[in-house]
């Protein structure tokens, strides 16, 4: 997956990142751990407030569903028992969707997941594992599996998928499938092909994400 990413782009929050892949661009900010509102507080673990803002207009149920999926991915990778009775706010602002928003959200979701992961690391929140996410499409006629499809490829696809994998041991071992969200028309063989290809691609992506974090941190350690 071709992408450009930066961490620490905002200076009034605890952690932030920008993730750009093709025409999709997302900025993510993380504030926490902070004092929660009484209704958000969890007695034994960190509460998460996840907000996704669309590229245009106000947030709708579409963004609510994206938030729900992002929460499903982030909850298991954050070490939430480290911060009892605390809150972490994660806000993703989509700057450019890079796809037809009325029909697809796969590109945006993948970029939000990757951006949120980088921002959480930048904020210094304790994590259990790493994650990486890619959008995938299976094309009509050719049945070709394409990772990181463009807006045009999504439109002529037969099925579209978002895959997020959890990595441990320095990004070498896949611990679990955090999210596989598939829509369209597909069969069992295609599904397992997606998981196979997705594992390779996510592994490459997680290596690059580690590189970005390393480049950010090493000068600070040297100083």
């Amino acid at each position: 997956m071709q992408f450009q990413a930066e961490v620490g782009v905002l200076d009034h929050v605890d952690g932030s990142s920008q993730f750009v892949s093709q025409d999709t661009k997302v900025v993510c900010s993380v504030t926490g751990p902070i004092e929660p509102k009484a209704r958000q507080e969890l007695p034994t673990q960190l509460a998460l407030e996840i907000i996704i803002r669309p590229a245009k207009g106000v947030a709708t149920t579409r963004e609510k569903l994206l938030e729900d999926k992002l929460r499903a991915v982030l909850t298991p990778i954050i070490n939430r028992y480290c911060y009892p009775r605390q809150l972490c706010q994660i806000t993703c602002q989509i700057l450019e969707s890079g796809e037809d928003e009325s029909e697809f959200s796969q590109r945006e979701l993948s970029c939000c997941i990757n951006a949120a992961f980088l921002a959480l690391v930048d904020a210094g929140i304790a994590m259990n594992s790493m994650c990486a996410s890619i959008p995938i499409a299976i094309m009509k006629d050719s049945n070709e599996i394409i990772d990181n499809p463009s807006a045009e490829q999504l439109k002529t696809s037969l099925s579209v998928h978002t895959l997020a994998l959890e990595f441990i041991d320095g990004g070498k071992v896949v611990k679990n499938v955090l999210l596989l969200d598939s829509n369209g028309d597909f069969n069992e063989d295609q599904l397992f092909n997606i998981l196979e290809l997705g594992e390779q691609k996510c592994q490459g992506l997680v290596k690059n994400l580690r590189k970005i974090i390393q480049d950010e941190i090493s000068p600070r350690l040297a100083a």
Partner: protein
């Protein structure tokens, strides 16, 4: 000192709770205890589904085909019961005017050719969805919850990507109401006049309309995750939807009026008033081969430490490996204990042919292995096969 040690000896009594109290205090432990016996808190087996009973179209205005209830605006309905949960789906509709005619709508295409083209191009842009509003009744009023919003949106996305509802099926074939010589009103529909081609050309209208469909889904006595119940209910309801025929008044069929704005005059064609026929209706032509049914699964590791010891053979107890967690697949999640303790879930929408249109896999708890996925896909296929026969019973 010696006296003190004697006093310090405390006898520890284990605290015991009745099962229902334990289930409230520690749902996780209660669930593990049940699972170790090979059953679930709802007394089903691991891969046992709840029975589903449906009633289709009992609320619709077209229940009695002879006597259409014109005051009822429900076009299709379904009542689905599964365990204690009841889902009531009612489909209503509206008509919108299409303000920009796409290239495919040009008049040189015949209706049938147009249909062939849309069938050929099996892309999402040629399909419409339904606008669902899910209401989970909890005995209190207030703003809609996140769960209601995400289920509604997921239903919308899944109907769209399942390619069930072609845009072509929602086009209005409008008729014209005219006054006869004797003063009575009669409505002529273009497709009812096939033997009289001269009339058809007179009825060609420049404006296009489409139906939009709304679904109100009410969930009563929610006991567990409800997305799959809502989806199945919506699928049953959609298969019996009838769209009312619509017509415009002859006098308004090509009315133009001149208006002046800031000194300039412009011709504006008045919007037609489109009316629905009180009695006549057409069935909604959905892509019935894409009708699919949903089921959900959970994956949980059996915790060997929570297993109940059999009091009868406590002495000859076998050495269980306390570190070995065995994952099991649980079908059709229900009850609070399962919902709160099972974090790895699989949700599948499958059709009877063995193709899938939607799959959501969330691995926040136990590891989801390829075997688990294979098993859940197989079960979904069997379940979809079973559910698809219910409508004809």
């Amino acid at each position: 000192m010696t006296e003190n040690t004697a006093l310090d000896t405390i006898e520890v009594h284990p605290i015991t709770f009745p099962p229902d109290v334990l289930a409230r205090i520690s749902p996780e432990l209660s669930l593990q205890r049940h699972l170790s016996l090979g059953i679930r808190p709802c007394l089903r087996k691991y891969e046992e589904f709840r029975e589903v009973t449906i009633e289709n179209n009992t609320l619709s205005r077209y229940v009695d085909t002879e006597n259409v209830d014109a005051k009822n605006n429900i076009l299709g309905s379904n009542v689905l019961k599964s365990g204690k949960t009841i889902v009531i789906t009612s489909i209503t509709g509206g008509i919108i005017e299409e303000n920009s005619a796409s290239i495919k709508d040009l008049d040189d295409f015949g209706e049938d050719e147009l249909y062939e083209i849309t069938k050929e191009e099996n892309v999402v842009a040629n399909y419409a969805s339904i606008y669902p509003v899910v209401e989970v009744e909890r005995g209190r009023v207030g703003a809609c919850t996140d769960e209601e919003m995400t289920i509604s949106q997921k239903l919308y996305d899944s109907v769209l990507h399942s390619r069930i509802l072609p845009k072509q099926a929602l086009k209005v074939k409008a008729g014209v109401r005219s006054v006869n010589e004797d003063g009575t009103l009669s409505v002529l529909y273009p497709d009812e006049l096939e033997n009289d081609p001269s009339n058809e050309t007179n009825l060609k209208m420049k404006r296009k309309w489409s139906y939009v469909l709304y679904a109100k889904i009410m969930v009563l006595s929610r006991t567990g995750p409800v997305f799959d119940l809502c989806w199945n209910s919506l699928m049953y309801a959609l298969q019996d939807v009838k769209l009312p025929r619509a017509f415009i008044d002859e006098r308004a069929s090509d009315l133009r009026m001149t208006i002046r704005t800031r000194g300039r005059s412009a011709t504006i064609r008045e919007t037609y008033e489109i009316l629905c026929d009180q009695t006549k209706s057409l069935p909604l032509m959905i892509n019935s081969q894409n009708i699919a049914f949903a089921s959900n699964y959970g994956v949980i590791d059996l915790d060997p430490e929570s297993q109940l010891q059999d009091p009868d053979n406590a002495e000859e107890e076998v050495d269980i490996d306390m570190d070995e967690a065995r994952p099991v697949l649980i079908a059709d999640l229900d009850t609070e204990a399962e919902e709160t303790s099972i974090h790895s879930t699989i949700s599948v929408i499958a059709n009877a042919k063995g193709n899938y249109t939607q799959l959501t896999l969330v691995g926040a708890g136990a590891k989801i292995t390829p075997e688990m996925i294979k098993r859940s896909l197989l079960l979904s296929k069997v379940r979809a096969n079973d559910l698809s026969t219910r409508l004809n019973e």
